[in-house]
Amino acid sequence: MDTLSPAHPHSLSGFARPVAESQSTFHAAMMALARPGQRQTLAASLTPPAPLSEGVAALALALCDFETTIWLDPAFTVSDEIASYLRFHTGARIVTSPAQANFALVGETAALPAFDAFALGTLDYPDRSTTLILQLPSLDGGPPFALSGPGVAGEVSLAAHPLPPDFEARMQANRAVFPRGVDLLIVAGLSLIGLPRSTSIRKAGG
């Protein structure tokens, strides 16, 4: 059985308890989008290939299957390991064009492609859009943004780091094409913040 050596991506484990962990991971994602800016915690134990983090891998495994497509950014395609891991555990198709992706996994968030490279949906079917899952080192320490809109009582702040320098302008453009647009799940370790297209954003304290 030397084809399944420990280094082989197929042998890297998925959820230990698939039913319960899929549910709790989904629940965190749902609450993240329902309460933009409010931190949710993912409780999953799995072993994805580096540099894919546990949190991002948990979301991919909980939400993707043979019906979905995944786009991986260059940070996640340095080798075939991550694509192979995701294919094995979800059955999802890995696509090379971000516009064809249901989910986009982004490891190098400072180099995040322009949002209109992804599927934004149509006015008739705004749900046919890409959900971006961003892997960041930290949800703190970045320049603060103030969020408002559905799910936010008043205002809440977001300081994830690093984000592209034009992040505010991008999110405002994303809000302007509502109901079209992309939704963001921002993950650091096992913490998660949601930024749905319905959220308004501005630089805080400016």
């Binding site: 549910q23 559905p150 939704d183």
Partner: protein, 299 residues
């Protein structure tokens, strides 16, 4: 608690179906009021008995959740009892009739009188999700109308109500606008409950099984009932308090008592009514009856 039914996945649905529904829910939450199409499954109950709500509940339910199910405000009617038992058997989750204890509340056509809290999720069973359907039967047209935010037709309908009846005669499934964008059917809840949807701290999910649509209102989202400046939206008013618990400002059901015109009005929310009676509130028709008949020991 009932023992788990062997042979079924947790909460009945298979994992792939749950993922498909969960993806639809995430889109629904991100686009408040927009009806997301989903591949609704056959459920072990007929369409019209809450297959949409049951699928949404099955997709969100976790092992630690506490489930409450109500049918027209009541925990004790057929639809509520059978759905509650369904999830006891297939998910083994704790169930309750107490609104404040529940983390997930599946409802058919009422919102509990006890205000919902942060962290709670209410799942509505929806028969016809499209508010414009009886005005425009073609899905292609209503889809375009939503896309272009072209809702004049609904205002014409409400205006015709006024022209015919002198007031807006729509009393349930009263159309609302969610976060200033999508026209939405709140499901056939009495319009009395519409104000409870506005800026609710709870997450509201809607499932229509036969029509294969899921939509949502996130917490703290503006929900406005359509009206006119000279005919503002008003909720139903009742002349008398509840005949059993004397509650005012709640939604009452009419109960016919005899064939001589006798009737009484009682809370439609049974949990709310029983809680008040247990606290010592007595309505005028409670008479000498014990204030509260304790339920049978929990199943």
């Amino acid at each position: 608690m009932t023992t788990l039914h062997p042979g079924y996945n947790f909460a009945y649905l298979d994992e792939q179906t749950k993922r498909m529904i969960r993806r639809a829910i995430l889109k629904a939450v991100a686009i408040p009021g927009y009806q997301v199409p989903f591949a609704s499954r056959e459920m072990p109950m007929p369409y019209g008995w809450g297959t949409g709500g049951v699928q949404v509940t099955a997709a969100i339910l976790g092992e630690g959740d506490v489930l409450k199910v109500i049918d027209q405000g009541s925990d004790d009617t057929t639809n509520a009892v059978s759905i509650r038992k369904f999830f006891e058997k297939t998910a083994g989750v704790e169930t309750t009739t107490e609104t404040a204890r529940a983390t997930v509340i599946q409802t058919r056509h009422r919102i509990p009188e006890t205000a919902l809290q942060e962290g709670q999720t209410i799942v509505y069973q929806v028969p016809i999700p499209e508010p414009l359907r009886f005005l425009e039967p073609r899905e292609t047209e209503t889809r375009t109308m939503h896309g272009l935010e072209e809702y004049g037709l609904m205002h014409v309908k409400l205006y015709e109500d006024i022209a015919t009846h002198g007031h807006i005669a729509t009393t349930y499934a009263y159309p609302v606008k969610v976060n200033g964008r999508y026209l939405m059917d709140p499901s056939p809840t009495p319009k009395f409950d519409n104000p409870k949807m506005d800026m609710s701290p709870a997450l509201q999910l809607f499932g229509a099984g036969r029509e294969k649509r899921i939509y949502a209102i996130p917490p703290y989202t503006k929900v406005v009932s359509l009206d006119f400046e000279d005919h503002p939206f008003e909720v139903n008013k009742f002349d008398k308090p509840c005949a059993l618990c004397a509650a005012e400002g709640v939604y009452l059901d009419e109960v016919i008592l005899d064939d001589a015109g006798g009737r009484m009005f009682v809370c439609s929310d049974t949990d709310y009514c029983e809680t008040r009676r247990a606290e010592g509130h007595r309505g005028e028709m409670l008479g000498e009856a014990p204030a509260f008949v304790s339920r049978e020991p929990a199943e």
